[in-house]
Symmetry: C2
Subunit: 200 residues, 2 copies
């Protein structure tokens, strides 16, 4: 998605060979116009897939997910992260390991918002090692709903998440795929419309 | 806001004389169309106020704030909640006491996203005792930005937050004000256009 790639080039900052900071428009400060375009693009890519619900995870997934929900005209549910395992009725849960924090967190969705009749689009801001995405998939599967695919704003193509999801047979639509962050330079994989080249 | 009041009447559930559950459209599952209408209404009420930025708090404030940002054409910043006081550079912080959890949490915004030239609209899903709202105001004030007002989706009129904010001279625009939740019935204050009556 050209508009997103330009935004990353102009406003993203490379903190290390694995960390891209996009807190000026995606995960701390949010650019509502860009979120609207992102939501529209997810809706375009998944139109005709019979999506009935979007599932995302707090907090940074919410803005792109709500815009996609507006364009697809379906409700959005965001999974909550909880540190403690307090017993609450009717919650579907999954455990998500964070490599950064080296700890597991429980994520949960109320069972009343997912049913076996739902066809779910899972949206998140980043796809890196895929642990959060797999946790969301686990929750949707536990609810016996089906997964139409994953809508990812930024995929770190040099980490394992995208491969893991695609190997499990999931459709993954990433609006920007980063090939490398080496030497402080963002190198993108351009995969739209069958092309597979690199740009900086 | 009539559409919101109807939604609360139809889909909200009263858990006690102080707790209204709206997790089917506002703070767990989200209704994107309603959020869009809410954003449009905040934009209408604060049009001409010279708003340059919206500040909210994760997670439930994000959806209405981003829609308001889309309609007002300004960026949105969401404050993060953190349990620990790890030292991070360039963060503006405030301490927010939760009466429910009986603990204080630190909320923070990166200083680079607020400046003395900003005129800020603070948006949140609920206004109850006002602690989160006052914490957000503290952060905006610390950044020497000015506060144009508060946009609240649901105000619990029977708790102190609204009074506290208005006594400090802040403009508070609440789209639905709840007068009482007694006996399992939601009673609203109708305050739009100068009227002050009650409806159930």
């Amino acid at each position: 998605m050209e508009q997103l790639i330009e935004k990353i080039k102009n406003d993203g900052s490379v903190l290390s060979s694995s960390i891209l900071k996009v807190d000026s428009f995606l995960n701390h400060q949010i650019d509502p116009d860009l979120m609207n375009e992102i939501g529209s693009e997810f809706a375009r890519r998944f139109s005709g897939s019979g999506i009935t619900k979007i599932v995302t995870i707090e907090s940074s997934g919410i803005a792109p997910a709500v815009m996609a929900g507006l364009h697809l005209q379906v409700p959005v549910v965001f999974a909550r992260k909880r540190k403690s395992l307090t017993l609450v009725n009717d919650l579907i849960t999954a455990s998500v390991y964070s490599f950064t924090k080296q700890e597991s967190n429980e994520i949960s969705v109320s069972s009343k918002f997912l049913s076996e009749n739902d066809k779910v689009l899972i949206i998140d801001d980043f796809l890196a090692n895929g642990q959060a995405a797999l946790g969301l998939a686990e929750i949707v599967n536990k609810a016996r709903a089906s997964i139409a695919g994953f809508g990812i704003v930024i995929e770190k193509g040099f980490q394992d998440g995208g491969r893991l999801l695609r190997e499990e047979g999931y459709r993954v639509e990433s609006l920007a795929v980063i090939h490398s962050l080496k030497n402080g330079i963002v190198e993108f994989e351009i995969t739209e419309e069958g092309k597979a080249e690199l740009t900086r």
